[in-house]
Symmetry: C2
Subunit: 260 residues, 2 copies
């Protein structure tokens, strides 16, 4: 599976300035605020002198604006994430099918990839249109507690899965969240064997989800697609009898289309 | 207006490696393909040796994957664009109102910011849900030929507008596209004075749009919102009588909400 990082030894070829500059951009994502130079220096754990050079560079490139000594991201930053979406016909194909499936079922459908202990929404079609842009593409959630995450974890090698359990925290997010390593390993193995998984309010109270995998041309699981449903609208049984069959049809169709 | 770059003199403080690394990420956006080292070197106008270091660095940071010597963007790149969306409550407020307006009118609504001769979609609510993800947030279009672009251009200083006309090309996109500098200057001035503008198939055959501005807390025009309608569904007269009044109500509401 290509989309899980192994250790990449770069050594002398590592361009530290690039790493540090990207950290500066990311420093803005957790804050709904404009940031001062001191804020950014603190968030990125860098000296003010170094931070200043990165801020000035990003400003001169049009990625940051500054107003009254406080910096803010400018829309040019979207180009970077957009590069991912527009370079991937796989994402486009998936988005197309999610829109159809969401319309048909009148429920929200999402495709998530795996990245360092978390899942990342790469496509999404929402049933309820009145929602925050925050629940959109690019959002990250812990893999261990989500249907798509557990499915993606089933595609890791044993060594990668050991590393996952050793590295990432597993806080209980609801009173139903399973956090025990042994139980999770069993659920992940089952998900991989049967090719689907249901999440019963473990990530969020009142929300159930069923997920199935999508495979890319190389045969690797590149994402998992889920249908997310208010618990009041579907029992565990209904998720399996009503939503799962349609989900499996659609994810198999997506995998076929991607391979063409 | 803060969202239009003036010249920023950085000089010795400019971190060239950051600029060049970001270029590498952007090189992927125009190509629906995996890129070899030679492809990236060509696209970014850099030596292979330099390109190699940036590719290795981005790979080790999890932004790029590599398969059979061809590089591809990984979902971590979405974090960067997501930083913009999640750092801006302004975008969230706008997205919320666009969803409502789109639902009410059953037409597509978009908010666009200005960036170096182009408009960038920063929020969007589509009436037709079966559409490509490409017509989404982050997409860029030439400012001179679009309703939102002409409105944003009206907020430039005279010097900035001179620079705009001297710098960016104005190809005819349909047989209706106005490209003459004098005519465009008049249209832009009128848009600024009346606080709205209608575009009659100048950007795309069969599509009309009406746009109005949104102002941020500092009083600067930070974006323009448009309603885009198939020409078959609305005459120029209907756009002005039916859609414009609602659009003005909503954009004024957004501006008020943002200022709170």
């Amino acid at each position: 599976m290509n989309d899980v990082e192994g250790p990449v030894n770069v050594g002398v070829d590592f361009v530290q300035s690039l790493d540090r500059g990207l950290r500066v951009i990311r420093a803005f994502s957790d804050r709904h605020d404009r940031l001062s130079m001191a804020d950014v220096a603190r968030a990125t754990n860098q000296s003010r002198a170094a931070t200043r050079r990165f801020l000035l560079t990003l400003e001169s490139l049009g990625y940051l604006g500054v107003d009254d000594k406080r910096y803010y991201l400018r829309p040019r930053v979207l180009e970077l994430g957009y590069a991912y979406l527009s370079s991937s016909t796989t994402v486009e194909v998936t988005q197309h099918y999610l829109e159809e499936l969401s319309k048909e079922l009148n429920e929200s459908c999402s495709a998530c990839a795996y990245d360092r202990g978390e899942i990342v929404y790469v496509a999404r079609a929402a049933a309820d249109r009145i929602m925050s842009v925050n629940i959109g593409v690019g959002r990250r959630l812990p893999a261990f507690a989500t249907s798509t995450g557990r499915l993606m974890l089933s595609s890791l090698s044993p060594a990668q899965l050991d590393d996952f359990f050793a590295t990432y925290p597993r806080p209980a997010l609801t009173n139903k969240t399973i956090t025990d390593e042994g139980e999770l390993r069993a659920l992940i193995a089952t998900a991989g064997e049967q090719g689907w998984i249901i999440n019963d309010e473990e990530f969020e109270h009142g929300v159930r989800a069923v997920a199935a995998p999508v495979y890319d041309a190389s045969g690797a699981m590149w994402a998992a697609v889920n249908i997310s449903v208010p618990a009041s609208r579907a029992s565990m049984k209904e998720l399996e009898s009503k939503f799962l069959p349609r989900l499996l049809e659609v994810t198999e169709q997506i995998s076929r289309d991607i391979k063409r």
